[in-house]
Structure formats: C-alpha cells, structure tokens
Amino acid sequence: MREFQSLKFLSLFKGIFTRMGVDYAVMEKILRIKLTMDERRVPTIFAENGKKKKEGNQFLKSLWIYGLYSLILIPFLLLGENYIYQVSIVFGMILFILMTSMISDFSVVLLDVRDKNIIQTKPVDKKTIAAAKIVHIMIYMTFVAGAFTTIPFLVGLFRHGIVFSIIFFIELVLTILLVVVLTSLLYLFILRFFDGEKLKDIINYVQILLSVGVVVGYQVLIRSFEVVDLDMAYTFSWWHFLIPPLWYGAPFEVLLNGNSSNYFIAFTVLAVLIPLVAIYAYAKLMPSFERNLEKLLSDTKTRKKSINWLDEAGAKWLCRSKEERVFYRFAASMMKKEREFKLKVFPVLGMALFFPFLFIFTYSVDGGLEEISDGNMFMFIYFCNVIIPSVVFMLKFSAGYKGSWLFRAAPIERISAIHSGTLKAFFVKLYIPIFVFLSLVFIWIFSARILPDLAAVLLGGLLQTLITYKIANGSDLPFSISFEFAQESGGAKMMVLTLITGAFVGAHFLANAFHYGIYVYIAVLLVAMGIGWRMVFAETGAVPVQDTI
C-alpha cells in the first residue's frame, strides 16, 4: 500500500471534516483502502493466467479521453462575452460529463453493500462512513472534472482574464457537489419506496433513463440556443429556473457584464444555494439511506414463471440445432435480466432511437417534413448501425461471469453454436426492435420508396454485427468476463469498428448513384453475409479447455 497524493491534499481540509463530526483519521484509513482496491480492479485470477499483469488505476489512465473531449468547449469560450449562452453551454457539457460518469461508474460505490458488513460492524460511526463514501466519489469526480476542464480553464484565463477563471473555478466546485449529492439524493428517494429486486430494477432503469436523458437534454440545449445566433439577446422565461446550466452562466453576466437583472441574481443564488442545501439534506438523510441499503440484500417476493412467446418463436425458427437454440434462449434471457448489461447497453440503444430524429429535425427546420421527404435524409437510420459495435462488445461480459464454467463442464458438441445463438439473440432482441421502429417512422416520412434502402441497411447491420463479433469478441465466450474489463479493453478497436458503419454508408451512397445500384448492393451484401456467417461460425469442435477466462 502506498501514500496517495489525493489524501495528502484532502488533509488540508481536515478541520472542516472534524468540525462536521467526522473522525478524520478513520475516514482517511477507509479511503486509503478504497483507493488501493481501485488500483487493483483486475482480479488476480486474470493476472495469473498468463495475460500480462496490469497494475495501477485503470480509471485514471483513461482520463486523457476527457481531455480530448474538452477541446469541444474551447470555441464557446473564445467566441465573445455573451456569457449567459456561452458559459451555460460550457457548464451544460460539464454537468453532462460529470453526471454520466457519476451514474455509470460510481453508482456502484454509492450502492456498495459490502461496506455495511465490513465497516459498519466496527466501532466507526455512521457519519464517518457516509463521509468516506462521498469523499471517495468526490476524489474521482474531481479527477474527471479536472481532466475535462483544465484546458478550457486555461483558455478562459487567457481570453477572459483572472476574474473569469476565479468564478469558473468556484462554480466548478459547486457543480461537482451538485452532481454527486443530487445523484445520491435521487437514489435515496428511490430506496425509500421500494425493496429487493424490484428496487435494483428501478435503480437500473433510472440509471438508464438518466444517461439517455442527459444526452438528449444536452443535445436539445445546444440546438435550442442556435449556436449561430450567439449575439442574440437573452429573454427570460420562468422555466429557465429548471435548467441548471443557466444558473451557472448567470454569475458571469452579473459579475463580468454588470448585468443585475433580477433573474440573473436569482440564478446566481440558485447556483450557490442548491448544492449547499443538497449537502445539508444529504447529511440529514444519509442514515436512512444506509438503512434502506439493507433492502438491496434481501428479496422476499416470489415471482411467477413467465414464458416469452417471442423468444420461443425466435429460438424455433432462427436456430438450426438444439444446442444453438439453448444458447439463443440463454442469451435472450441474460440480455433481459442482467442489470449491468442493460445499464451499459440500453442508453446506447436509446441514443440509436433518438439521434436519427434529432438530426432530421435539426436539418429540416425551414422546410418541414414535406421538404425532406424526397431527400437522402433517411440515411440517418444508419445511426442504429453505429451502436452495433459497442453493444456486441458487451455480449462477452457479465456480472455472473464466474458461472461460465458451465460452458466448459457441459458436453457441448459445437462451440460455434454458443456464439451464433448469442449473436442471433442480440440481433432479434436488441437490434431488430429499434430498426423496425425507426423504419416504420421513416417510411411514414419518406414513403415506401426507401424500402430497398432499408433492406440494405438491415443487411449492412447484420454484416457489421458479424464483423464486430469476430474482431471484438474473437473466441471469448459470451457472458464470461467480468465487467471490470469492459472499460479498459474497448478503446481504439471500438472506434475503428464504429467507423465501419461509415464504410457501409459510403457504399450505400455509391450504389444509389446508379440506377438499380441498390439492388446490386443488396445482392453483394447477401453473398457477403452468407460467406461471412459460414467463416465466422465454422463447425469447430468443443470448447477449448486451455482458454483463459
């Protein structure tokens, strides 16, 4: 175990914690242990099995990507002094990044029930445990925020001067507090009213909804501001009080532009007050949060057996062998029930549903639907192919990955049946519903003339699924790896696989340049599909034993 810089820095605030009744020494010990564990996210069994040993905090190593994302903020900082728009957009994005990171990466920390059995049974008071939990998350959120705002901060310093940076910094601290504490309060609220498995489901769906909602909200925010019109004057409406990014734009107007309209003052007050009130509420409610956390451990309700006829039909008609059918059903129910899988995948699916419309409506503000129905805008449906790599990649992960010994212990004749059954289930359960929904709406907008194009998109999707599976998952068995690996191993490979969609779009446009070209393209796709399927799912033998899990 080593010393952590973050803890050294934290000790500067020792006085504050002590005054709040927190046992600082104990909290520091808990944090040191937590940080040590975070560095070792890779379980030892993996490290020992020949794969190269990965030490160090994988999360911190992935921070550079936030630095890259942050470049998008720079134009908004450079443009001018219309702070209520520019800074609101900047803080909108910061809130977005922090919120998504909080929900997807740190909900686990917040909802960790192990702490209860291990720490709360020791003579440590609840306040200290609660503080350790929130500070643990804060440390990481500070890293995320730091990575995302360092460059913009410097740009702001040079462009708008020192006062701007000071306000910026203070607001940043407030936003981190706001995000962490509001998320906790939200969970607290949910935990109050439900129990056991139901509760886990609800949290799961809230997480999914939130991450979709944040993306959608952010897109809408950007578009409603009409980036081109940055000069236009701001007009106040009462519902602006509900948009936190505006609160954080207002102080700049007040302090730098000397604009002391009542609503700007009110926004500024909200920006400061809400995080503080939230922290106060959190401190008050934390004991009941911990109490309700207990519910996560137990489930007393009995559930009825349910048969999904759709899954049965899919298994019956789409799978050739009994073995494949077994894995089709297995994968279908895993996709439906595995919460962590849903958490990682459903937001992406939501975006596939949302983005095509977003782009269509952004580009069609002037002419309306009539105008675009003759155009090429239906190609935005390719957004539902863009998501294929990130979803297919997730198929090999599971929270219950240890159960995959079953694949090896059971007398499975053809290993390819595991893969093909899973992939078919993915296509039918996750891809097709989105594709069908989008197609129906698109046919309504663009008329039935786009039917051949839709067929090409579908086939392209199938082919891309196949390619992705081969490259990203290789011979890894489905649902056989811990989610801890999901973050680190994606990266560049996923980026490239996502770009394949671009190749399909290009080919599609090329085909459309010729008369009946689309039919040739469909034929080519069909042939490629046939060959590809046979190559990827060749009749290989049983599960290789030496394979490392």
């Binding site: 040590t36 069994i45 291990i118 049974t121 008071d125 109490r291 137990s298």
Partner: protein, 266 residues
C-alpha cells in the same frame, strides 16, 4: 446462571417488522460472559437479523438491546470495540491482500498499525498462511479466506464474538483447531455467539443452545436439558422435532425418484 454483573448481552422483547412481515417476534435473551451459545434455527428464522441488529446494521427494531451495559440504540458505536464478527457469506474486500485486510480491520478497531501488522502476521502463521499473507484474498480458497476472516474477528482481542457459519469451507483438522480455540477463549471469559447449520458441531461446541423458529425462541437451554425434554438423541433430531419437520425420508424418496424416473426428460 446469569449474574447481574457479568451480563454481556441482554435482549428484551425484540421485535422487527420488515416490509409488513414480522421477522422477529419478541425475543428475550440474557447472555453472561464465558458462554458459548449455539444460535440455531431453520433458514429465515431470523438468526442473521438478530445478529445484524446487535451489530448495529439494522436500527429500526422495537425492543431493547443492551451490550456491555450500553443501549445500542444510542447511536454511539463505541460498544463495537470489544466485538468480533465473522460475516456469513465470507464477505471481504477481495482485492486486498490478507495482511492489508487484517491491518485495516485492526485499525478500524482502534489498533495501532504496526501492532496490528505484527499480530496479524503471527496469527496467520499459526494457520500456516504466512506464505500467502501478501497475496490477494481473491486468490484464496474458501477455507483460507474463512481463516483470514476468523483471524480478523479476533485480532483486537474482543470480549464478545459473533460468528455466522464460521466453519464453512474448513477442513476437518482446521475445524478442530477452531473448536479448541473457541473452548479456550470461553474459558478466558469471552462470550461466543455462534450460528451454524451443522448440528453435530453446535452440539459439541456450545454450552448453551438457543433455537429460533419463525422469529421466536422455542428452546433455550443446554444440550443435556434439551435431550431430556425430547425423545431424540441428537441435536439434529431435536432440531427436526422442534421445528416440526418429520418427513425428510419421504422428501428424499420423492426427490430421488424424480431424478431417476421421468422418461420425458431422459
């Protein structure tokens, strides 16, 4: 049996309502120092709930729980200083090494870091685990991990022990060692609150047996007294009788015939 001054634990009229269901139904229990209590009962009887209440993990109970003369509802966690706990599912921070985990728990109990480290190493050596002291718990077998957790519960020399299924995964030799440790600790005046499903063991180790059924104490006496009360000769027999379970033979017969029988699944 219980004198007022060496009363370690006292539970008065403890009830607990969980989601509209009565989990504990007025439990009364007085425990003196030096007792080894076998706390037994069928699944869902409320054993773990009682232990969790005493450890302060659950605080919305009704009734009064006093430990070392302190009402635990006061919110002051200091009474836990002299308690050692082995959780039932071998829960631990698996990414830590055995020594790190032990030192951490020791520190939480207020021990000095170096003292905790030294003691941890010496105790692990007694279990012949000194070689793996710096390996992560995630690489440990169930029995090894259980030994670490048992060590963790004893590191700070507590006066009261709560052990929930402490022997799961241990081999016969280790079980004998633990059994002997328990006896010697009790002789030193430590109190041990012990729950297990292995009746033979409870019969051997405990000097007092508390049987819980549906949130109520249905028996509370020594094994010998229990034997006199019932016609069964073994604790598992008494257990079956008191929990009203008599059809194990028929159940087993049906089960095996299903395993062998049905042609439609063959």
């Amino acid at each position: 049996m219980t004198r007022e001054n060496d009363k370690v634990l006292s539970i008065q009229n403890l009830t607990m309502n969980y989601g509209g269901k009565q989990v504990l139904n007025g439990i009364n229990l007085e425990v003196a120092s030096g007792e080894i209590i076998g706390y037994i009962g069928p699944n869902g009887a409320g054993k773990s709930t009682t232990v969790k209440i005493m450890l302060g993990l659950i605080d919305d109970y009704q009734g009064k729980v006093m430990i070392f003369g302190q009402d635990i509802a006061s919110g002051d966690p200091s009474y836990k200083k002299k308690i050692g706990y082995v959780p039932e599912n071998a829960e631990a921070y698996d990414n830590l090494t055995a020594i790190e985990y032990l030192v951490f728990t020791g520190e939480l109990y207020g021990m000095d870091r170096d003292a905790a480290q030294e003691k941890a190493e010496r105790l692990l050596a007694q279990f012949e685990l000194q070689e793996v002291g710096h390996s992560r718990l995630s690489s440990f077998s169930k029995g090894m991990k259980q030994k670490v957790l048992i060590t963790a519960s004893l590191l700070h020399d507590p006066d009261l022990l709560f052990w929930d299924e402490p022997l799961s995964g241990l081999d016969a030799n280790s079980m004998m060692v633990i059994q002997e440790i328990l006896a010697q600790l009790a002789a030193q005046g430590k109190t041990i609150f012990y729950s297990s499903h292995i009746m033979d063991l409870v019969e051997k180790i405990s000097n007092r047996i508390v049987l819980l059924v549906k949130g109520e104490v249905v028996a509370d006496s020594t094994f010998e007294e229990l034997k006199e009360m019932s016609e069964e000769g073994s604790l598992s027999g008494i257990f079956n009788q008191l929990t009203g379970f008599t059809e194990h033979r028929n159940k087993a017969k049906d089960f095996v015939s299903i395993v062998q029988g049905d042609e439609e699944y063959a």
